[in-house]
Subunit: 215 residues, 4 copies
Amino acid sequence: MGRSATSSRRLKEKEDRKGLILAAAREVFFEVGIRRATVDMIAAKAEIAKGTVYLYFQTKETILAHLLLEGLDTLHEYLTNAFDESAALDGETRLRRLAAAYYDFYQLEPDYFRLMMAFDRGQFQESVSPELYELILLRSLRGLRCVADAAQQGIHEGRLRAHVEARQVAGMLWAALNGVLVITSHPLRRELVEQEVEKLYAGVLETMLSGLRQE
Amino acid sequence: MGRSATSSRRLKEKEDRKGLILAAAREVFFEVGIRRATVDMIAAKAEIAKGTVYLYFQTKETILAHLLLEGLDTLHEYLTNAFDESAALDGETRLRRLAAAYYDFYQLEPDYFRLMMAFDRGQFQESVSPELYELILLRSLRGLRCVADAAQQGIHEGRLRAHVEARQVAGMLWAALNGVLVITSHPLRRELVEQEVEKLYAGVLETMLSGLRQE
Amino acid sequence: MGRSATSSRRLKEKEDRKGLILAAAREVFFEVGIRRATVDMIAAKAEIAKGTVYLYFQTKETILAHLLLEGLDTLHEYLTNAFDESAALDGETRLRRLAAAYYDFYQLEPDYFRLMMAFDRGQFQESVSPELYELILLRSLRGLRCVADAAQQGIHEGRLRAHVEARQVAGMLWAALNGVLVITSHPLRRELVEQEVEKLYAGVLETMLSGLRQE
Amino acid sequence: MGRSATSSRRLKEKEDRKGLILAAAREVFFEVGIRRATVDMIAAKAEIAKGTVYLYFQTKETILAHLLLEGLDTLHEYLTNAFDESAALDGETRLRRLAAAYYDFYQLEPDYFRLMMAFDRGQFQESVSPELYELILLRSLRGLRCVADAAQQGIHEGRLRAHVEARQVAGMLWAALNGVLVITSHPLRRELVEQEVEKLYAGVLETMLSGLRQE
DNA sequence: CATGAATGAGGATTCATTCAT
DNA sequence: AATGAATGAATCCTCATTCAT
């Protein structure tokens, strides 16, 4: 119970604190929107002093980045559960399950989803350390790899067109399905499309799968 | 007639000035991003005083809204040219041409495209007059209608599955293709997908069309 | 019909214009309050260009000063009518009539009254030419002189205490009655006093007159 | 107990700071007038950063309201001292002492007096929280109640006309005496009356008392 | 004379970040 | 480690006044 135990406890407490702040930040971002969220609000929600926030996160953007990481991890869980490596599922089934899982994520974790959609361009990259940026990229890739794996399996099984790379199939599916959710996330555009998200999402999924099966 | 000429000149000058400010705003938004853009920057870029901006636009958000309208008009031109009502084109060709036009718009008018993507949620709706919001909605619809018309034609010609509504087809196509562009607009996500936008875009288009032709 | 006639017409038009602006200013001040009134509003209400306002008045404060003059003139009319020089009225009656006239002015010309109350301290004196200031002072005196004259008459008639100067009596009456109106002009203070203005005004008047009759 | 001592010290420091800002604000308001006073000036006078002001007061108007409260408290001290509950004084003496105390307040605390006079109409009520407004009203009432109590005593003692309510007497006296001070607070009007404030004030007081004694 | 577009010096308020305790 | 008071640059917007036409 010497130094090591103590420091490990310390480390754990530190992690707890970080998690506490992240949880508070997530709530605040969700409640008032990312733009209107302030460090004061986050500190107040976490019931700690404002200065303390800066002991755990260098900048406000860093908090966002870490939240994004959390979101990516959560999404990854959804996706791996859907992929269900240990089960005997064919590729197309896996793709459908993955698509359904993404939709679940969109519905059950709207705050994470909004967060992931909200990073517009440059601003973000500039204000976060390269290491963190790299990390986000890596974690994002894991999700896409699930889809690519399922696609690869589908190609092997002869259910998808052979002349397309699995990786490309994954990108196309993700882009198209994500596109549905992006559009319907925006009130203006949702009014525009006038269709239920679910129906639109299912339509794009089926059409894409059908198109991919085609010779 | 003198008066009329004068007032029409006045009107034109006023419009020019508005255009000048909009052009400056567009540049500023493009250079530093919407969030970091300030009215000062816009005024400086337009080489006018800050107060002058407020002679032409009630609010910073109003400038954004007008830029959005400009963007929508520009897009509409691209789309109507592609549709080419006077020509004898079949529905599927029209859909392809519309998709290509949207891609052109994305490439040739990146600032407008970014702007259209960047409106995040509620904040916008709140800070713009209902009339302006309505106008934006209306103009947005025009673009979608082009796609819907082409889809309708395709269905009539028997090239697309008959049991889907044209409106729904349009929504699906737009969502999917827009999804490709959204993803590739974001540096992080572009790195992720690792594919050339063009190839991805073409892939989704062909896959969707192929899927829509399917029985 | 030479130069002279023309210039007199010019002069008249100029006066008309001035009156037009003053009327507009009065309405605006009354509608939105002095602090919130802007030159734009005044010009809009007068249906002339903003620059034109500055052809007739050097500054916004000058407009206020001229409005004040108008108000003083109006008040003076009320007072001279009440005094009714040509009639055979005793001093005390005249004082009562003057008091009633001041109350009428407060009720029938609330905008002028508010204006007269609203000049707080130094700001005003600084921002108006000495000549104009002198003029205002002079016009204000005329009103007070009416009261002093009536008081003088009352003293002569033996109805008021002889050992007080008429001028002082006038000052005291004006101060006391004006005090009632000032207090009840302010919402906070009106809530405070909880009495009807009219009753309070009458009470002070009778009490003062009664006190002044006393040995 | 350590904690308690600390937090009580904290609280005291916080109150001190608030007092510091209020003192600075009072000086600024007095020097340049309420309208011309800016938060920058207040911060500069207090030798703190502009943002710090907003740690202690939500709004510029709130500062004014708190100054007003300070002024009302100060006035209340003057009045209760004059009333001197523990002493055996008759009602009329008390009224005279209260009047004298109000005059002292006017002379010794001119900035507070000016402040109390300067709240013009609605603007104020709108820009302050209802609670604060209520508080101001309450505190204002305390002063008036002193006067009403003395009047009540006078009526009981048979020195004042029995058929008038004490509350009404208080209102009349306050209105009349305040009227004197209002008029003489304004340079323009002071010039007008041409009398020494003190003499005018005494005259109105005596006349009112005399009138109130009358059958 | 009249216009009204242009000006630009403020003004109130916010908020990420720092730092003495 | 934790605090939270202090900072001050930044932001949007206003409006009295000027001046070229």
